[in-house]
C-alpha cells in the first residue's frame, strides 16, 4: 500500500524492508514454474504498491515520481527477482499503452499487467527486418470491421507464455515503407498464432519464432492510428532503450566487476598485473555508466526528457560487457573454458557466450550510434535509397519484398 506524502528516503526504507522480507532467496531462472512464480511475485509487488510506480493511478499505477522507480531499481539490484516474464510488458508495452492507448485499451490491459495476470510480448523483428524494422513484411489486411494478420516474427522473447503481444504489420504497400505500418494488440491465444522456440548461441531458448496464419484482429486492436505504426514503434523502442540501458548491472551477473573481483580472489589471480588493471578499469567503466544513468534520471526528474540519450546507456552497456569478457578471461584463464562437471564454470561460460546479444538485441551498436549521431548531434542522414520507394518495389533482407 502506497503511503501518502512519503519522502524518497522513507520510500527507500520501505522498499528495502519489503525486499528483504519477500525477495530473499528468490531466483529468476531455472525453475519450471517460472511463470507462476513471476505472476505471484508481480501480484505481491502490486499489493505492496511497487508495481508501475510512475504509471497513472487511474489505471492501477502508483502515480509517483520516476525517481522513486529508480530508487526501487537500485534496491532491487541486489536481488535476483523472478520478473523476467514481465519485463517486456512493464518496460515497453505498458508504457506505450500509457502514451498511445485508448482509454478502453488502458482500462482493459494496464491493471491486469500490473497485477501479474497477463504477460506481454513485442512482435517487431522479422527474418528480413532486423536493424531495418520498417521493412517488415507481416501483413494485416482489412476484413470487415477488423483485420486478418499473416506473416512471421522472430526473436520474440516471452512469446511462449504471453497472453498479448504488440505486433507491427504492414497495412499499405503502395506507400514508402515507414508510412504503411500499423501497430496492433494481438491475442497470443487466438487461433492461427503459432509459437516455436528458437535456440540462441548459449544453447538456451530465450526467444521464439511466431507465425501468424489468418489471425483475426478486432478493429479496436489498433494502437495509435492505422498506418501510423512507425511512430508507435519509435515510442516503444524509446522505452526499450531506457529499459535496457538503465537496468543496473545485477549482483548475480558473473561478468559484473564485483563478481570478477571475488573470482580473482578465489582463484588467486588478483595479483597479476593484467588482472588488477583489467578489474579496476572495468569497475571504473561500470561506475561511470551507472553515474550517467543516474544523471539522466535526475535530468528527467528536473523536466529534461532523456530523448534519444537512452541510446548512450545501451551502447555503453554493451561495450562494457565486451570489456568484461576480456577481463574474465584474464581472471579465470583456462578455467573459463573448461571446468569439472561438479564446478560452477557454466555460469561464466554462458555469460561469455551470451555477450554478443547485448550488442545486437534491441538495436545493434551500429544502430545506436546512428541514433546518437542523427537525433542527438543532428548529423545528416545517409542517402536513403528506399525513402520514396513504394514498399512493394523494395528489396528487403535477402529476399524481395511484397
Amino acid at each position: 500500500m502506497a503511503a501518502a506524502g512519503e519522502s524518497a528516503e522513507q520510500f527507500r526504507a520501505r522498499v528495502r524492508a519489503w525486499l528483504a522480507a519477500q525477495a530473499t532467496g528468490l531466483t529468476g531462472s531455472g525453475s519450471d514454474d517460472v511463470v507462476e512464480q513471476a505472476k505471484r511475485f508481480q501480484a505481491a509487488l502490486y499489493d505492496a504498491g511497487f508495481a508501475g510506480i510512475s504509471w497513472p493511478a487511474e489505471y492501477g499505477g502508483q502515480g509517483k515520481d520516476a525517481t522513486l522507480q529508480q530508487v526501487f531499481n537500485e534496491e532491487a539490484s541486489g536481488y535476483e527477482l523472478p520478473t523476467s516474464p514481465f519485463m517486456i510488458g512493464m518496460g515497453m508495452c505498458g508504457p506505450t499503452l500509457v502514451d498511445l492507448g485508448t482509454p478502453e485499451q488502458k482500462t482493459r490491459h494496464l491493471r491486469p499487467l500490473l497485477r501479474g495476470e497477463e504477460i506481454w510480448c513485442q512482435l517487431f523483428s522479422e527474418p528480413g527486418a532486423g536493424s531495418d524494422v520498417a521493412s517488415l513484411q507481416t501483413k494485416a489486411v482489412a476484413d470487415g470491421d477488423g483485420w486478418l494478420l499473416n506473416g512471421q516474427k522472430v526473436w520474440t522473447s516471452n512469446a511462449q507464455w504471453a497472453d498479448f503481444g504488440a505486433v507491427l504489420a504492414r497495412t499499405n504497400t503502395d506507400v514508402p515503407k515507414h508510412k504503411g505500418i500499423t501497430m496492433f494488440i494481438v491475442d497470443m491465444r487466438a487461433p492461427g498464432v503459432e509459437v516455436r522456440p528458437l535456440r540462441d548461441m548459449t544453447g538456451k531458448s530465450p526467444f521464439n519464432e511466431v507465425y501468424f496464419d489468418d489471425v483475426r484482429l478486432p478493429g479496436n486492436a489498433v494502437i495509435g492510428a492505422v498506418d501510423a505504426g512507425w511512430q508507435a514503434a519509435v515510442t516503444m523502442l524509446g522505452h526499450e532503450r531506457v529499459s535496457i540501458g538503465s537496468s543496473a548491472r545485477r549482483r548475480y551477473d558473473p561478468l559484473a566487476s564485483q563478481n570478477l573481483v571475488e573470482l580473482a580472489a578465489e582463484l588467486d589471480t588478483g595479483t597479476e598485473p593484467d588482472v588488477r588493471a583489467g578489474l579496476v578499469d572495468l569497475y571504473a567503466a561500470e561506475r561511470v555508466l551507472s553515474l550517467f544513468n543516474t544523471r539522466l534520471q535526475q535530468e528527467a526528474d528536473a523536466g529534461k526528457a532523456p530523448g534519444a540519450r537512452g541510446s548512450v546507456s545501451k551502447l555503453a552497456g554493451a561495450l562494457l560487457l565486451w570489456r568484461a569478457v576480456e577481463v574474465a578471461g584474464s581472471v579465470a584463464g583456462p578455467r573459463a573454458i573448461a571446468w569439472d562437471p561438479e564446478d560452477e564454470g557454466d555460469q561464466l561460460a554462458v555469460a561469455i557466450n551470451g555477450t554478443p546479444a547485448s550488442s545486437i538485441a534491441g538495436g545493434t551498436n551500429q544502430i545506436q550510434r546512428g541514433i546518437i549521431g542523427e537525433r542527438i548531434l543532428g548529423l545528416p542522414k545517409e542517402p536513403q535509397v528506399d525513402r520514396d520507394v513504394p514498399f512493394r518495389e523494395l528489396r528487403v533482407g535477402t529476399q524481395t519484398s511484397g
Binding site: 579496476v280 555503453a316 548531434l377
Partner: protein
C-alpha cells in the same frame, strides 16, 4: 548525490563562457601562448576581481564566496573549453586548497585575499622527481635554521611557477611533510621555465640551494598533499570535460558543412559513429565529473574514489576525443592555424599530469581491495 547543475550554477557557467568568448577567443589564446610570459595576467585579474573565479571555495572571511567545488568545476570547465592561459590551476586550485587545508588562519589571512582578488598569483611545488604526486619522497628537503627554514633540492612540474608571486613548496622535514612559502626573489632559488608539449600551460622547475623559506601550518602535511592532489584531479577533470565538449562541438559542426564525395561528411557512418562515440564518452565523463565535484563538497569519504575514478576515466577519453577531432577535420585539422591541435596537446598534457592513469588505477585498486601492487 546530485549530478546536475542548479540554475545558479548554470548561470555561472554562462557568464564565464561569455566573458571568455568576448575577451579570450582563440586568437587571444594564441597571442598569449606565444608570448614570453605565456599567461594572460590582465584577464586573470579581471576574472578574479570581477567574477570571483579564484575564490569559489574560499570562505568569505578570506575574501572568497564560499560557493563550493561544483562551482569551481563549472569555471574550470569553461577555462578548459577555451584553453584560457591563466594561472587558475596554480592559484585558485593548488594554492587555495593548500592554504585552506593547513589550518593556519594567519597564513590564510595573509595570502588568500590577494590570491582571490587576482592581485597575486601563487604556485605550488608538490611533485616527486619522476613527476608523480604519489608516495615517493619529496625532492625538496627543508632544514631548520635558528630563526627559520632553508630549502634545498629541485622541484619539477610547478604549474605557473615562473609567474607566481609566492611559491608554496611541499618539502621533507625532520617531522614529516611541511609546506613552505618562498618569495620569488628569495636568495638561493632559481626558476627555470620548462619546455612543454602543450603551449597553453606553462610549467617551471624550481632549484633550491639553501633558500630561506617560511613554514606554514604545523604538523605533517602528508595527508594534506594527498587531498590537495585529489581536488586537483577533480579540477583537472573539469577542464578536460570542458575540452571534450568543445572538441565534440567543433567536430560535429564541421562534419555538417564539409562536403566530400557530394555529401556532408557527417552523413558517413565512419564520421557519424565516431562522433557518437565521442558524445557517449563525453556524457559519461560529465557524469563522473559531477559526481566527483559533488563528493568534494558533500562526501569527503567518497572523495578519494571519486577523484581517482574521474581521473582514470576522463584523461584517456579526452585525448581520444581530441585525436578524433583532428582526424575528422582531416588535413585542415593538422595545421597550426586550426585550433584542433591546441586541444590535442592540452588533452595529452592533462592526461599525464598528477600521476595519470597509473596512479589513479593504483588508488582504485586499493579501494576495491585488490591484492598486490607497489
Amino acid at each position: 548525490m546530485r549530478l546536475i547543475l542548479d540554475d545558479e550554477q548554470q548561470q555561472l557557467s554562462a557568464t564565464v563562457h561569455k566573458v571568455l568568448a568576448d575577451h579570450a577567443p582563440a586568437t587571444r589564446v594564441r597571442e598569449v601562448m606565444t608570448s614570453d610570459v605565456g599567461e594572460d595576467t590582465d584577464l586573470w585579474r579581471r576574472l578574479s576581481s570581477e567574477l570571483g573565479v579564484a575564490g569559489l571555495v574560499v570562505p568569505e572571511r578570506f575574501g572568497g564566496s564560499g560557493a563550493g567545488h561544483v562551482e569551481r568545476c563549472v569555471v574550470a570547465e569553461e577555462l578548459g573549453a577555451a584553453l584560457t592561459p591563466v594561472p587558475f590551476f596554480a592559484s585558485a586550485v593548488l594554492a587555495v586548497d593548500t592554504l585552506l587545508g593547513l589550518g593556519d588562519d594567519e597564513a590564510c589571512a595573509e595570502f588568500l585575499p590577494t590570491v582571490v582578488s587576482g592581485e597575486s598569483v601563487a604556485a605550488v611545488a608538490m611533485a616527486t622527481a619522476d613527476g608523480m604526486w604519489g608516495a615517493k619522497p619529496l625532492p625538496v628537503q627543508a632544514e631548520s635554521t635558528g630563526d627559520g627554514w632553508q630549502l634545498t633540492g629541485t622541484a619539477p612540474y610547478v604549474l605557473s611557477g615562473m609567474l607566481a608571486d609566492v611559491l608554496l613548496v611541499y618539502a621533507r622535514t625532520p617531522d614529516g611533510t611541511g609546506v613552505f612559502a618562498v618569495r620569488p626573489d628569495a636568495s638561493g632559488m632559481t626558476r627555470v621555465a620548462a619546455r612543454t608539449l602543450d603551449p597553453t600551460r606553462r610549467i617551471a622547475r624550481l632549484d633550491f640551494a639553501a633558500a630561506p623559506a617560511r613554514r606554514l601550518g604545523t604538523g605533517d602535511a602528508g595527508e594534506l598533499r594527498r587531498s590537495v592532489g585529489e581536488l586537483a584531479a577533480i579540477a583537472l577533470a573539469a577542464e578536460q570535460v570542458g575540452g571534450m565538449r568543445r572538441v565534440l562541438d567543433m567536430t560535429v559542426d564541421y562534419a555538417k558543412v564539409r562536403v566530400q564525395f557530394g555529401r556532408a561528411i557527417g552523413s558517413y557512418q565512419a564520421v557519424k559513429h565516431t562522433c557518437a562515440d565521442m558524445y557517449s564518452d563525453t556524457e559519461q565523463a560529465i557524469s563522473a565529473l559531477r559526481y566527483a565535484a559533488w563528493a568534494a563538497d558533500h562526501d569527503r569519504d567518497a572523495l578519494p574514489g571519486a577523484a581517482a575514478l574521474a581521473q582514470l576515466y576522463i584523461g584517456p577519453s579526452y585525448f581520444r576525443a581530441a585525436a578524433n577531432a583532428v582526424q575528422l577535420h582531416g588535413g585542415i585539422g593538422y595545421t597550426w592555424e586550426h585550433d584542433a591541435h591546441l586541444y590535442y596537446k592540452r588533452a595529452k598534457s592533462s592526461e599525464l599530469l598528477f600521476g595519470g592513469a597509473r596512479q589513479a588505477r593504483e588508488r582504485l585498486a586499493g579501494l576495491l581491495d585488490l591484492p598486490g601492487g607497489s
